[in-house]
């Protein structure tokens, strides 16, 4: 059945019937190609979603002060809640076993100048551990350290684009910039995966900002990083007890939704992962549909091929072709074409995905890819079903009496 003679016969048939070969090959190649590209796009979408969250640390709960809407313990509603340094200390004291670090954040926008260049930048007063919360990457120099906080030094870490804007080609490290009327020494330059906005920021010690602002004690937000091993439910529980703690300390009605606002990355992360999973499901569904369409396509072509060859098969049978040899000729031919074109379509699809890389990032598709086993499995499925689809009409053709097949129309 697999002799060289047999293959020679099959090759000849394939070569001499180019349209037929092209049609069935094209269907299979296109089916696999679309499957691979679609599946890759799905993975690219998921990649993008993960990147959104990888920009910042994923074990972060942020507390924002709000305005009360309910009176409580003698306090009227409409009271502005404020955080201060004692809150940080209290959290560190009460929840040490759950926490990795705690950092405040004070957000301001200052006109910043160096020589003749000036621009408005978001300036943040933070503690050293804020670096981990934002996943700030130091390019040169250093980040803020404990000593900066303690001594309230006028040091600043500036974003890559701040350096580019203000210093041009010059090295910012060691130079002094004017931030809102105070002179800060640049000790570090950073980059951030979060995009241009995040690289146009200036980080300074929060204690220094407090000192400049009439030596107050207030912080805007409190960022709490929990230990990752807490997991989703642990993080939710911690969020709840921290919320209770704050509401008690700040005399906020436990049922007041507006006294304190909380953003828990764990929650968002879970939602995103669910969304990604749904996306993957949709993509898998569409890809599955493509394969089904491919199978239907190849089945149609096989029916057409056998129909077209009825007379030829009748001649062959009259000359002594056994039903087995008729079936095997048709099957081997179809499996040969589907295998070659299936693999070709798969490789082209993978090549397309590889060449896209980051070019579709604007459409939320990052680094699209497909796992080789998935691609190979899909190709195999199409080949096998192509074979099955070929077998049924081939078997029917083998049973046709030569006299019927040879009858003149």
């Amino acid at each position: 059945m697999f002799s060289r003679d047999n293959w020679r016969e099959i090759f000849q048939t394939i070569q001499k019937n180019k349209l037929r070969t092209f049609l069935s090959g094209f269907t299979v190649a296109l089916g696999i190609l679309i499957f691979v590209v679609l599946f890759g796009f799905g993975n690219g979408l998921i990649n993008t979603f993960q990147l959104f969250f990888e920009d910042d640390a994923q074990n972060i709960i942020t507390f924002f002060p709000g305005q009360t809407t309910k009176p409580y313990k003698g306090y009227k509603s409409g009271r502005q809640i404020e955080f201060d340094r004692s809150d940080l200390a209290d959290i560190e004291k009460n929840f040490p076993m759950f926490l990795e670090y705690v950092t405040p954040r004070i957000g301001r926008t200052y006109l910043t100048k160096f020589k003749n260049e000036s621009n408005n930048y978001s300036t943040r007063g933070v503690a050293p551990s804020h670096q981990f919360a934002e996943k700030t990457i130091i390019m040169k120099g250093r980040y803020l350290d404990k000593l900066d906080i303690l001594k309230k030094t006028k040091t600043a870490v500036i974003g890559r684009l701040v350096e580019k804007d203000l210093f041009g080609q010059e090295d910012a490290i060691g130079n002094y910039i004017d931030v809102g009327g105070s002179v800060f020494k640049v000790v570090g330059v950073y980059q951030d995966d979060g995009g241009d906005d995040e690289e146009r920021r200036i980080y300074v010690p929060y204690t220094t900002l407090q000192l400049i602002e009439k030596n107050n004690d207030k912080v805007d937000q409190i960022i709490v990083a929990f230990k990752p091993e807490l997991g989703y439910s642990g993080a939710m529980a911690l969020e709840k007890s921290l919320s209770t703690f704050f509401k008690e300390k700040k005399y906020i009605n436990p049922n007041d939704q507006n006294g304190i606002f909380i953003r828990n990355v764990a929650e968002g992360l879970k939602q995103t992962q669910q969304l990604a999973r749904v996306l993957q499901l949709i993509v898998a569904f569409v890809a599955f549909g493509t394969i089904i369409a491919g199978i239907i396509g190849i089945s149609n072509i096989m029916v057409f091929v056998v129909k077209e060859r009825t007379k030829e098969l009748g001649i062959r049978k009259a000359l002594g072709a056994t039903p087995k040899s008729v079936i095997s000729t048709i099957l081997l031919e179809s499996i040969f074409i589907t295998t070659i074109s299936g693999v070709l379509g798969m490789l082209i699809g993978i090549a397309i995905l590889g060449s896209l890389d980051k070019t579709l990032e604007d459409f939320f598709i990052t680094d699209p890819y497909i796992d080789m086993p998935v691609a190979i499995f899909a190709t195999l499925v199409l080949i096998i079903f192509g074979g099955v689809a070929g077998y049924i009409p081939a078997k029917r053709a083998a049973r046709i009496k030569p006299i019927v097949a040879l009858r003149d129309e």
């Binding site: 000849q12 062959r316 072709a321 056994t322 039903p323 040899s325 003149d408």
Partner: protein, 233 residues
Amino acid sequence: MIEIKDLHKSYKMGKNSLHVLKGINFNVEEGELVAIMGSSGSGKSTLLNILGMLDELDEGSYTLDGVAIKNLNETKAAQYRNKFLGFIFQSFNLINYKSAAENVALPLYYQKVPRKERQEKALKYLTQVGLKEWANHLPSELSGGQKQRVAIARAMAAEPKVLLADEPTGALDSTTSYEVMDLIQKINDQGNTILIVTHEPDIADMCKRIVHLKDGVIIEDKKIEQVRASKYV
């Protein structure tokens, strides 16, 4: 060579059954050239189909070269056809994407003859029908007579016991018809057994024996003085 005893064949057409062959008794010796004649509906094609193992008989017996042809499955029938029979059709039935030589070699392919030998034999038989120079041409590049000669070479290639020809000259003009008949006569002269179904009396006259069918029975079976086709060529 061929022995047929009390052959019956009927086709079911809905509720009715059409009795086509009603008890045929008929022998063919080796080396005979027999014409089977009859108007359409006389059952001559059905008889040829049964002789060619393309159709099955209902009653009676059919023995070909001492082998009883009965209850054959498709595979066995295919093997017997390949071994015992060569077909020549009215519409030639060459495979259009294969060259003349490849068409002639095809029955040998199904006999699992090695490729080299197939090509040699194909060329030998093409030479015999006078088409050696046309070996590498496609059927579409040949005239009707040439196509039929390729088909005859193909039928001969497997060296069958019996050649069955169904209206071999039906699609040809008379000059070409005589050329083809001349070839068939020459093949017969070499000792090959040939059966020809035809409704043309002049073609039948070029055989050595005429069997006349009417309404499913043989009404006449006579040996005749053969008219040589070479006279007209």
